[in-house]
Each structure stands twice: as C-alpha cells, then as structure tokens.
Symmetry: C2
Subunit: 382 residues, 2 copies
Amino acid sequence: MNTTLTALETPALLLDAPRLHANIARMKTRMAALGVTLRPHVKTAKCIEVARATDGEGAPPGPITVSTLREADQFADHGWTDITYAVGLTPNKCAHVRRLLDRGVALTVILDSVDAARALSAASADWPTPVAVLIEIDTDGQRAGLPPEAPELLDIAAALVGPGVRLRGVLTHCGGSYHCHGAEALRAMAEQERAGAVRAAERLRAAGFDAPVVSVGATPTALFAERLDGVTEARPGVFVFHDLMMEALGVCSVDEIAVSVLTSVIGHRRDRGWTLVDAGWMALSRDRGLAGEFTDHGLGLVCDADGQPIGGGDWIVAAANQEHGLIAHRSGDTARLLDVPVGTLLRILPQHVCATAAQHPAYAVVDADGQVRARWPRFMGW
Amino acid sequence: MNTTLTALETPALLLDAPRLHANIARMKTRMAALGVTLRPHVKTAKCIEVARATDGEGAPPGPITVSTLREADQFADHGWTDITYAVGLTPNKCAHVRRLLDRGVALTVILDSVDAARALSAASADWPTPVAVLIEIDTDGQRAGLPPEAPELLDIAAALVGPGVRLRGVLTHCGGSYHCHGAEALRAMAEQERAGAVRAAERLRAAGFDAPVVSVGATPTALFAERLDGVTEARPGVFVFHDLMMEALGVCSVDEIAVSVLTSVIGHRRDRGWTLVDAGWMALSRDRGLAGEFTDHGLGLVCDADGQPIGGGDWIVAAANQEHGLIAHRSGDTARLLDVPVGTLLRILPQHVCATAAQHPAYAVVDADGQVRARWPRFMGW
C-alpha cells in the first residue's frame, strides 16, 4: 500500500508512524531507567500492529494489559499469552476467563471485594488451570479499589481459596494524574501511586500472603515518576499516541501526538463564522478531554493536511453532529472564519485518543514522507 | 437463538423488539396521515434487520437516508436501491458515488454551495448515469444549508450542469427541534421547517428549475408536524429506538425507549456513594444529550434488569472511564448508595441512542418474554 492523503475518503483516522515509534522508544527508555516491566495497556490502540511495534521489531509478544476480554481473545489469537484484564471481574465473565486459561493464556484478573473473591473462588473450583488475581488498590479516590490501609484487603486475600485462584499481588491505576497541574504535582501523584501500591503489597506479605506483583500505571505517572522502588510493572496506554489531554498535562507536546482525523471541508456558514467538515462526533467522539480544567480545544484542534496547527492553534471543532463538525475560532468571534475552499483537507488532533480512535475501524499509517503505507485494523466490542 | 439476559456477557446492547415495532408503527401511521413518504434515516441503527422491520414484514426495500457512503454500500448489498446521502458531498467522495450509481443505486446527494455544485458537475461529466442532487436548505440556523431566500440558491441550481447531475429539489434538517421546550414550540418548529423547504422549492420552480422533491426531517418535527403540505418526504431516524433526549422533548415516554445497555455491578465505593458497573464510555458513549437544557441524566438512566427505572428514576451514570461507569444518586448526595450486590444486572437507558448504539458491534434482540431471540449486527466506519 502506498497512497497519498488526497486519495483517502474522509473522515479517516491517521497514524503518524515516526511519532508512534518515538513515543514507544521514550516510554521504554523511561521504564528501563526505573527498572520496571512495561505492560502496555492495549485498550488505547486495540490494534495488533501497534502492540507489535511496542514489543519491538522481531521481539516475541510481551506482557500486555487489556480492558475487555475481547481484547484478550484478539491478542491471544495473535500469540500474546501474558495478559492482565484490568477491570473488576463480574460473575458473568468467569466462563470466558476459563476459556482463555484453557487455551494457554496466563491471565490475571482483578477484584476489590470479598463478594467478588468468593464468587470467583466458587466459579473456579473445578478449573484445571488457576487464574492469577491481583487486588485492586485505590491510591487517588477516583474510581475502584480499596485504600492501601483498608482492613478488607486481608479479608479479600483470605477469601481467595481453592485450586482455581492464585493471589499474586496488587494493582492500582492513578486516574487522578489526569487532574494534576504541573510537573511537581505529577511527580507527587506518581509517588502517591507507588507508595500506596507498595504499602498494600507489604501488608499482604506481612500477613503471609503471596504478593510478588505490584502493578501501577497511567501514562502521566509512568513518565513523571522519579522512582518506582517496590513496583514490578507499569501499565501506561495512551503513550503510544498521546493526545490533547496529555499535552494539557505537559506530558507531551502537540507535535508528539501521533493520531489525527483527516477531514474535508463541506461548506461554510459565513454569517456564523463556521467552517463545516465531514468529521462529526462519529469520527471524533464526544470526548471533550480536560476542557473544564485546562484550555478548551472543543472536540479537537484544527491542523492543516500536514498536521501543523492552523493560525497558531486557535481553530477548534467547536460543535458536532453525527457526521458534521463545526470549526470556529477559539475566541468565539463569529466574524472570524477559517476561509478555505470546499474539499480542503484538514487534520483534527484528538482530545482523548482512546475515545477518538474507538470510532474508527482502522488506522491509515502515514510515513515521514506523508505517504499512506499501511492500513492497520482495530477491533471493537466485548 | 434463545437465551436469557443472565447468559450474556456485559456490557451488551439490548433492543426491545416489541418497542421497536410499536415505534415504527407510530411513525408510519403519522407519515400516512400527513401524506408524505417515510425515508427513514438508517444512521441511528446502522442495521439491515432494523431497516427490514421498518419496511415491514415481506415488503421490498423502501427509500432510505444514509449519513455515510459506507451505509449506502451496506444497504445496497442487501437490496436497497433508493438512497439519499444527507451530508454535503466533498470531492474525494465522487468516485465512491459513481461506484454506487454504476451498481444500480438511485443515489441522491446534497450540497449547498456553487463551488460544490461546480466540482460535482465537473467530476460527473463522463458518468453514464446521473446522480440526483438536492440543495440543502437551512431552516433553523443550526448547521449547513442556505436560507430559503438566499440568492445563491438559484446560482447553485444553475451551476449543476452536464449529463452527470440532475437537480431534483431541496432538503432540510431541523436540528433546532432538539432545543424546543414543549409541544407548541415543536409544532412551530415543524411548520418553520416545512415552510422554509417548500419556499426554497417554489423559488427553484419559479426560476424554471426542476424541484419535485421537498425533503424534511427529524423525529421531533415528523411527529409534531400538524401538516406537511408541499413536502414529499420525511427523514426521521431516532424514532425506531427513541432515547432520553426524545423523552426530554416530550416526543416519547421512558417506556417507549427500545435500546438499553445491559451492565453488571463490579463493586461499590460506599464512602462516595458510587456503585461501579462495567459500562463505561466505551459502552455508553460520552454523549450527555440535552443535559444543559433539560433534566441531567448524566451518561444514562439506571433501570433494573427488566428495564424499569430504579427508585423513580433517580439513579444515573454520573461519570465514566473507558470500561467503568459510576452510578450515583441524581441529587449528588454521597450518603445514598444504590446498594445491590456485585454481579447484579442493570440496564442503562441512553441519552442519545445514535451515539450509544454506535459503540457496539450488534444488538441483542429481546422479546416480550425477556428472552434474547436474535443478534442483529451493526456496521461502522466510512
């Protein structure tokens, strides 16, 4: 495959190959310096070829993190065997977990309650291969998990009984890092995440439980952590692509964002200062990123066909319908119009690349020379 | 296929078959009473079986509206031939339009500028079959199109020249109906949409142009219009399913909403009043519907496994990550907790069903007895 952007139908999801490889190299260098295993979260890309690029040319499939058992199925089909499913397990997924174990996947699941531990122990009582279990720890009050000092931590460990389950340690995800203003706050959040996870593992070990795995992760904390003593692995996901949220946090620059949506100008509403494009919320998603906390880029930042922000980055997708995007000036000044002809190609940088990429069936992979060299499929569903 | 909800893995997209059929019957009755052709917008369901249900048991494929040429391809593959693509055409889609014409599809496209008309006329100069063209009219200032009185209307008509294009009339979409409070406002908006479209067609005819087609549409105006004199067809889409936006507008009741997301409880954060479920934004979308203008249902309204709103409709999905939904009380009172066990099945009614359904590969079709009787695939992409 070797074609130009002008030969694509729009909207289309573009992946800048040189930026992808640079982003991966940066994270691997950082993980090596911190002495932890990189277990990338494949939920961002949902793409075999991106995971291969992360493992490295010619390398065997490495450890990965998934957000759905469908991802586990897909990656298992392509040779990955060391998979952590990082969403609390529910009883109606136990049969699926067993199918993955039976086909040779070394699957790890997570949970954060005695009820869930008992349900899994009961469901797995007759499984020939045990499933590894990590207890989810909350280190920032954002979502699921137990606080590191919660008494229930040991009760959960004790409730994991029988031949089908094997406690392996703890896992945490510091989503709070998405609300940190500045490098110092990010470093502090990374330390909070590290310390909480390590503390929970130490409590398990002190009570006689097996807890060799201490898993942390999020792209901001992985890149800003100063030390990860006691941690065994990190699970960043968005680092392969980056997006405007990562840019807002200071984790990347705009020219490190590897994914964009190619779109065409459909028309103009000169009286309102709108330029209409064929990328609506179906192509961009409705994710507004960190609009309430940082600079508001609407549903995305408007770039020219080469990926350079137009007018110093002051044009945004201000609103969208299903297949229509409305480009307006960031100031809201309706007297200003992005006055480019019908048919002009533009690129929109995504607010939240996990959400934007999920709207598309594949990536058009663009090389340094601007040529589209490959189509890498994504998968969806559960 | 005949299974229970408890046998499904969650999250899963449910389609209530009796509600679907009742919603279709209601719209067909209304269109017949108004004397216009129903050209349903298949962008909501993106599903062959839903379009078959709309045409009616045993009926041949009828006229449809699409939002992407991919929809046109898919429906053409299954026998539909009368297709209107209701997003302004861009030059890089002309080759695709020709492929559809060449395979026998009677395709209609829309545009709203002289530039676009000239580009299409030039691109189609050697096409053996002409493409039908409607000029897009703006009747509410929400998106694309020309005002009915715009001088440019006749310039566009004049710019459609050559053997490959055939002007057929006008098309408008009254998205402004989504911001109408009350039945009277909706009736007035429907009349505004009708009158504007008819006026534009009359101007074309008075200038000697062919304009037999006057196409309007949106579910709220289609259901609230008191008369559609001069209109030839309507293009509602969401009526097959309805959603919380339609309920907010008074277009449907909660118990007419035919699509929901089945989800399982993963755990609780009792200190914060959160019940965590396995439907995050990947399963629900990020669409918050009309939250700023009407009652805020967050990312969806929480129902029991039978589809009845819990606690009088006061529990909502207040926040979400990719695969986690956080259920909280509508009041924001963190002392209140939806205290149901891990593994409990819930149904979430969608804010905007076009967006929610788009996150899923298929519908699990549920009959009146609560049994899942079929899996109807959806398609995605462009």
